[in-house]
């Protein structure tokens, strides 16, 4: 499968989720926008979370 893409999204996800701060951003999961995007029809295909840059992830360890 490496032929299809050298990127390893599973590994990246694992790294990000292990450095995640518990509770930070949980409110997002409860927003009406997210739930409507998840359960809605084809006219709500895309959800964009827009945010300014914070510190790099290396500062968070």
């Amino acid at each position: 499968m490496g032929w299809i893409s050298p990127l390893e999204p599973d590994n990246r996800h694992h790294t990000v989720r292990t450095s995640r701060f518990d509770g930070v951003g949980d409110w997002l999961l409860e927003t009406r926008e997210l739930q409507e995007w998840r359960d809605g029809g084809a006219d709500q295909a895309v959800l964009f979370c827009s945010g300014d840059p914070g510190v790099g992830k290396t500062h968070l360890r």
Binding site: A45, S50, V55
Partner: protein, 213 residues
């Protein structure tokens, strides 16, 4: 992408993955990163999506054939090959969620092509949902391709800041120097100051907020 940005993507991915246990859906994602810009071409990002969607229960015969044909031509797969594989893979699944984190960390020339590819998928497979994160400026490009895209502005709220500070204090290397009163005072002052800064608000001040904590 910020603390909350990456958090958002990984939270949404985890929540969707949890739901795959009860509901028939599939989730694929890609985290973009400045440090690997050369590697994260549109072809490689779409390839990563294909990998995740076909890898679930072994590779179906028609996709194997599409692979073989693409390989015959030699070298790396082309975007057109990957889009064909992706169409086949998505058609076999009831619902697909694709998450792209930090779109703005792709090379600027790759962003329109990536959005165009995602738009083609959504057009052909209207049940497919796309989750994107990025700095606000990529919103314009996103809306050019998806006029009905819904935007959620993300910035740490008071609860997020409190959580973050508490976590850092929990990991303090000299815990004996801390008592409950001092701890409460630290949390109160930082949360107070940071919340005020967010109200006041230059984009630059936001960048440093979480370093201060």
């Amino acid at each position: 992408m910020s603390l909350t940005g990456r958090n958002s993507s990984s939270l949404v991915i985890d929540r969707l993955c949890d739901q795959t246990k009860e509901e028939d859906l599939a989730v694929a994602w890609s985290y973009c990163d400045y440090s690997i810009q050369q590697e994260q071409t549109v072809v490689n990002i779409m390839g990563a999506i294909v990998k995740q969607l076909v890898g679930r229960d072994g590779i179906p015969k028609d996709i194997r054939e599409a692979f073989r044909e693409a390989k015959k031509v030699g070298g790396r797969p082309l975007l057109v090959d990957l889009m064909r594989m992706l169409r086949i893979a998505i058609a076999r699944l009831p619902q697909v969620f694709i998450c792209i984190d930090a779109l703005d960390e792709c090379l600027p020339k790759d962003i329109p092509k990536l959005l165009e590819s995602l738009r083609d998928i959504v057009r052909e497979s209207p049940t497919t949902k796309i989750f994107l994160t990025g700095r606000p400026h990529v919103g314009d490009a996103i809306h050019r391709y998806f006029t009905k895209a819904v935007t959620i502005p993300i910035s740490p709220n008071e609860g997020d800041i409190r959580n973050y500070v508490e976590t850092r204090l929990d990991n303090d290397e000299v815990p004996e120097a801390m008592d409950n009163r001092l701890r409460a005072e630290i949390v109160r002052i930082i949360v107070d100051k940071m919340s005020n800064m967010y109200v006041g608000v230059s984009p630059l001040s936001k960048m440093y907020l979480l370093t201060i904590a």
